[in-house]
């Protein structure tokens, strides 16, 4: 059945503090919960509803997207959006509708409500260059009859041959020094971090961290009872004075390419932090999430490579260099933590599929992986340069400052304007351009910080980058 549009009568106030899409979300959610929109009802398209309510399509799109992400709607390809039974079930437990927070939730739906042609998401990678044929061939090889052991449980720590390849690879590209036995394979960065926090909770009461972190990390930390001490960020990394004043037993860092702000931790600060760890017995957690990708002349090796005292825990992932859906990551544990992992090893299960682990091992052993990394580095460097050039073309130094360049898969544009980040993003979305805020990642209550927009370029082609930036520039100049 189709929802009778004339029954949809939200009271929307464009002048209100709450953004339009949040008001609309709350209205539709309320109608669903009250049963006035029953399950399996087809909702009007964004165009129809926008026309009815006399607002732009953007807040409708955002509200629908949030309802989809929250499970109240389901998208049926070529049919439209329908309500699920969740509203009825949920209404039985009287939940309070929570309007979507300011931070954008990771869009987990592969097919978005309305395709946003220019999505500068930071997690996106260029899957068009993923070596699908070769990967499929190796997976099939893993599944052959003589390999039937690979169909059973496998090594709790991760397959030994893969760990050996990873140790060699990390040493080669990041200077990491470890034996394969120090590596623990995981099913993605959050799994590896979760494992690590389990190991640390015995002796870490306070965790210091960069004052802006990825929302997934924030949420994971909420499950633990570590006290948090945010460390202010400077152009070359965390403020050392804040570290000196902290009571932390561990520090969480993204030293190669701070997320989200993109600065690189300087050599001077690295040396100081390693010394701090040595003196205090504290740990340094190095999340090197996009460490393969450095484009400028300064090759800065990992923090771990300079650690002579077993204080650094190194975390990396294959989600960027290969693709996220393989779900493979790794922890390099210093001896004391490795010992703890092994002693407690009955507590853990290996969540990463041994089939994919073996496939990746074969891929690395053949040399194809290293060729792929080189190819992707060159490709991403090129996209990086295209984005940088496009931003410079449309934004003079008076308009905005570009930061976080030279590494990784994203950079930032700090706009010299009074407009709020959220407003700029909404305007961009109206032009079919999806960019991302940074204020949501802050752990501090920052007063009027200039709006800083994050542009990820991994998932876009050169043309899309140029066109996207052009439209963005047009959108925000109005």
């Amino acid at each position: 059945m189709e929802v009778d549009m004339l029954q949809l009568t939200p009271k929307l106030d464009e002048a209100a503090k709450e953004a339009l899409y949040q008001q609309l979300y709350r209205y539709i959610h309320g109608e669903i919960m009250a049963g006035r929109i029953p399950p399996h009802a087809k909702l009007p398209s964004t165009r129809q509803l926008a026309a009815l309510l006399k607002i732009s399509r953007t807040p409708v799109t955002l509200a629908y997207e949030q309802l989809l992400a929250d499970g109240y709607l389901i998208s049926k390809p070529r049919c439209g959006l329908f309500t699920t039974e969740l509203g009825i079930c949920a209404s039985q437990v009287q939940t309070k509708a929570e309007p979507p927070a300011d931070s954008p939730r990771r869009s987990y739906h592969a097919v978005p409500v309305d395709s946003v042609p220019f999505d500068f998401g930071y997690g996106s990678v260029d899957v068009r260059h993923f070596p699908m044929t070769k990967w499929a061939k190796l997976m099939t090889q893993c599944l052959s009859a003589e390999n039937h052991y690979s169909l059973l449980y496998g090594d709790l720590q991760g397959e030994a041959e893969l760990r050996a390849q990873i140790a060699r690879y990390l040493h080669q590209i990041r200077g990491v020094r470890c034996s394969p036995d120090q590596i623990v394979i995981g099913a993605g960065t959050y799994h590896s971090l979760d494992l690590l926090f389990q190991l640390l909770k015995e002796d870490v009461k306070t965790l210091a961290l960069e004052s802006a972190v990825n929302d997934g990390v924030k949420a994971l930390l909420a499950q633990y009872s570590f006290a948090h001490e945010p460390l202010r960020l400077e152009d070359d990394g965390v403020c050392l004075e804040d570290v000196a004043n902290s009571k932390a037993q561990a520090i969480y860092l993204t030293p190669s390419h701070q997320f989200p702000y993109g600065m690189t931790l300087s050599s001077r600060k690295r040396a100081w932090l390693l010394d701090w760890a040595r003196r205090t017995g504290g740990y340094l957690i190095e999340n090197d999430y996009d460490g393969e990708f450095r484009y400028d002349a300064r090759q800065i090796p990992s923090l771990q490579s300079e650690d002579d005292n077993g204080r650094v825990v190194y975390i990396g992932t294959f989600s960027r260099v290969l693709c996220p859906s393989i779900r493979l990551s790794y922890l390099v544990l210093p001896p004391a933590l490795l010992d703890r992992f092994l002693t407690k090893s009955n507590s853990y299960d290996q969540y990463a599929s041994p089939i994919f682990q073996k496939t990746l091992y074969l891929f690395m052993e053949s040399g194809d992986f290293h060729r792929h990394v080189r190819k992707m580095r060159a490709l991403y460097k090129h996209k990086h340069d295209v984005l940088l050039q496009a931003l410079q073309e449309h934004f003079s130094p008076d308009d905005g400052t570009i930061t976080g360049t030279g590494a990784g898969l994203h950079m930032l544009l700090r706009l010299h304007t009074e407009q709020k980040e959220e407003k700029l993003i909404e305007k961009a979305l109206r032009q079919g351009v999806k960019v991302y805020p940074t204020s949501a990642y802050s752990l501090l209550f920052a007063p009027s910080v200039p709006p800083t927009i994050l542009f990820g370029f991994g998932g876009l082609s050169e043309e899309e980058i140029r066109e996207g930036v052009k439209r963005f520039a047009q959108a925000v100049s109005n």
Copy 2:
């Protein structure tokens, strides 16, 4: 370098309370920690060491296996066993050597130290019948160019089409009633349980559980601060009086085929427990780990199918019906918990690979999965019957009682003997037969319970089952 065998001088006492293999483990571990056996040293083979020490190969095998599992040794195919650097690293932090506990640790090494030809492991499945060609073909299909979205992150809750297939399948075979939106996909049972415990910890202070649980569950629980109340087990399930006397807000159960003891929770007790949950607002956690496999006439549907009050959480896995290395499992959440999951969904990452999820979806959609389940059910029923017959042939009712039959992939033999479980297992291993104890799973300090041996039959052929039981019977009669 090879270890000088003459330097290996453990003082072993066959009459001591501590088993030989535990004494030997402690000795070798001590030598490694003290640096008297350096890293990268090749150890003597089990045959050589057994001959030197004038003991049987079995305790040497067990001690080596434990050292391997603990990371002090590494196995180099066709070369032998070598010490790792772990001993040196570990010795720097002065760890106390913990001899292996009585419970056998899950052997995570696909190629065991010495191949044990007759391994009655409960987690093993018959991978010879895994539809490898079809699976490989579908995986390749998922990786095709038009499907490149599947290489990105996917749905946090798990791919919608797969959840729809699972809902339909569970309804068909287990009577589970749910919408696809109530399903959360996981990367194996422990991941799903971990997710569930995260959701429950808000309002569950005390968890009641069957008085014997799988050691993985035990270890997972150790990470949470629930108080535990063990419920005594009777022939038809948990003791209701214990439930009535408990303060628990949730009860963890394996109602279809108790692990490890194999009894099925009776209808009468199911009704009582569902009523208990309705009255108290408590949750019933139903781990239906081998629910597809029932062989007797009594088709007992899931507990969830009889739940009209949203109290039951249903957990299942594809590890048994397909294979463990795919790492796919599912939670069916009642509305209140689903709501909590969705509200907190930023806390979670999807650890199960979207590629495998999509592959499984295609496999289920084609009908091949259902055919596979039927085939495996028939195959396992046959093996079940073969094992039962073999046990009955070698053990009269005076010798032992066979329990836990009629379902799942294991059964038990309770022997009427003074010998200890551990001793019987060691004797069996000497004949190349690996069987499993049950006392290690108990949460209670059970005084002299008759030794109850677990036989898993999933991974063995008919001939192996017969020969294995024959050798076991011979071994324990001496």
